[in-house]
């Protein structure tokens, strides 16, 4: 039997969470810092006890590491790699992966197919290195048959990805990790907590001294202007095109790709920051807005989210 079975407990590798540091701050807040998912990660806790901060830091780093190792497409042992290597065979996934795939399926539906976890194969011909090297139109067109979540069979706990196609949880994974970590912390820690993974964040409630003051980097701005926001509870996420673009004949090609054409969505905002009830929701809404290109602001207006859009 060749169908792979992965992610269902059992074969969990030994814990190897990232190192973290605990830094007391003013106002009765302790910060825990570590690096995961190629991002600086920070956990802010309303506590005076450093041992609590150490304990929570361990929980947070462990969970971030767990999600990264389970869902990173770069790790050969991850469930994503197993699915991408399955060559058209069904893969049975565990409950957590099933929940993520359900979410991806619903987002695909809600975005009329614009958000698609199979679009990663376009990376094979698009390299956003600031140069003017556009791919050959033929090379892009050749990849289109390998894209489309509707070609993936996803039912109950079984996913069948046609041979040659790939999935990844970019645009979901980090935001999901933020919400998961906050959830684990909130179950163990009575005070206010804020989780910030590279600008995607979530908080359970405001500390006694007032709302969290959050500085959000706005990628794509030459001045690196930070957006200073107040957040009490919920999630906040930013989608931007950072320095990832191509420039040719005065036309900027951002890294947000339209799965229908394989080419960048024209006139996308430099960055979109959205506040919502959770980080995954905020992140997906920001992604949806970016995919609208010129219509990003109108889309955000229509949805009724709190947002900050930078052109």
């Amino acid at each position: 039997m060749s169908a792979a079975r992965a992610g269902a407990g059992g074969a969990t590798p030994p814990p190897h969470a990232p190192e973290f540091e605990v830094v007391p701050r003013e106002g009765g807040i302790v910060a825990v810092r570590f690096v995961a998912m190629a991002s600086p990660c920070e956990l802010l806790l309303e506590t005076a006890e450093t041992h609590t901060a150490h304990e929570m830091g361990r929980v947070a780093a462990q969970e971030a590491w767990r999600i990264e190792s389970k869902y990173s497409r770069y790790r050969p042992g991850s469930i994503v790699s197993v699915i991408n290597r399955s060559q058209g065979h069904a893969v049975v996934v565990d409950g957590e992966t099933a929940a993520l795939l359900d979410y991806a399926a619903q987002c695909h539906l809600l975005s009329d197919g614009r958000f698609d976890i199979t679009s990663g194969v376009l990376r094979r011909c698009w390299r956003f290195d600031g140069s003017d090297r556009l791919p050959e139109p033929g090379a892009v067109a050749a990849l289109l048959p390998l894209i489309g979540f509707e070609k993936v069979q996803w039912r109950a706990s079984r996913i069948t990805v046609p041979a040659g196609m790939e999935i990844d949880f970019g645009g979901i994974g980090k935001e999901y990790a933020v919400d998961r970590v906050l959830c684990l912390i909130a179950a163990r820690f009575a005070g206010a907590a804020l989780v910030n993974f590279g600008g995607d964040l979530a908080a359970n409630r405001a500390p006694g001294t007032g709302p969290w003051q959050v500085g959000v980097e706005r990628p794509g701005t030459e001045r690196e202007a930070r957006l200073l926001l107040e957040l009490s509870r919920g999630g906040l996420a930013t989608s931007g095109d950072t320095h990832r673009f191509l420039l040719r004949d005065g036309v900027r090609y951002g890294h947000i790709l339209d799965v229908r054409t394989g080419w960048p969505v024209p006139q996308v905002p430099r960055s979109v920051t959205v506040a919502a009830t959770s980080c995954v929701e905020a992140g997906m809404c920001a992604t949806f807005a970016m995919l609208q290109g010129i219509g990003a602001e109108a889309f955000l207006e229509e949805q009724g989210f709190r947002y900050w859009c930078l052109r």
Binding site: M1, D102, L110, F305, W308
Partner: protein, 431 residues
Amino acid sequence: MQLKRPRSPLHLGLMAASCALLSDSARAQAAPDDAAEKPLQIDTDLLYYKENAGRVQTIEPVVSLKKDFGDQRLLDGTLTLDTLSGATPNGAIPSRKPQTFASPSSTSLTPKPGYKTTLYTIAPGDLPQDPHFKERRVAGDLDWSQPIGLDNTVSYGGHASTEHDFDSVAVHVGLSHDFNEKNTTLSAGINEEYDRIHAHGGNPVAGSDYALYEKEPSQTKNLAGGLIGVTQVMRRNWLTELNYTFDHSQGYLTDPYRIISVLDDTGAVTGYRYENRPDTRTRQSLYWVNKVALGPTVLDLSYRRGKDSWGIGSDTVDAKLRIDLGSGMSLEPHARWYHQSAADFYNLYLSETGPAPTYMSADPRLAAFAATTFGLKFGIATRRNGELSLRLEQYQQRPSDQASSLAELQGLDLNPNLKATIVQLSWHLEY
């Protein structure tokens, strides 16, 4: 900065999806054991069995469904259809002269009004076989198993089958207990079976003279049995299991279609008798099986020792090696060796002189014989965790008692070797 209400349908949809993601994943994390899928497994088999020399052939389609209702609660159902046809030995031995017999469905040996007579004649030197043998069987099994507490599993089930001349119902209950961190499992079970035999043309009076052609109405037999066993994980890649089974049958255990030749001192046929077996039988067996994983290759090695109150003792050694060929393909060579001693009342024939024994049978299945099976199975993975496989096997049975010193029987093969070919096509699917 904007703050707008009411929320759009897309906003609500995204909220609902995000909420479901976080609650579903939290639930999956809280109960990792429950995260596994609960599939429906469907096994479809088509078995073809053919004996040499125009003897019995069988076509047997089997459909089996296994449904996991979660929490290790399993429902398992199997439906089997059998069609047997061909010639089957009637128990008499070959002779120098032609021999004429009546098919069992006959109600008289000689044609007379109001009776049915179908005769067949066997050429000199040939093994007497009834050429009209044909049977259809429908059988169903249903089993349920579920855990009781953390370490116990209970299972119960039933079986029913029907043929033109035989009906059977059976029930069983089993209990198993895990301990030693689930490395050891103790099992025990009991089973009860009730059968009704209503042979074509009536059940013959056991042990009676064939020429009298005396028939009786239907008969019954029943069986009660039990099993105790232990399964032990020896190492990470080695599982061993030891079972002891015991059963006791009583009632009409005679085969209604078997006769036995009666010979004079020269070996010439003077008549036939219907066979007669004791009406009780007690069987015991000890079964030891080992499953060893050698990398992707799995070895399955077993030994069974059987013994019964009729004097039949048997040994079976069975070995299977499943070799993973990669790309979802596998090859499974199979070898089996079997040996049994004869039943105390087994005889190739009876002597006309001397006292007639109470019990007698010339059924080759009760004779002393050795048998070997060699086979090869090829499997290929299909979609949905499925596997399509083809099994080819050759069975050969060599009776130890094949000749006689009696003058008339010189040079005759009284109990020929049996060869059979087995072809099985199986398809396993999961939903």
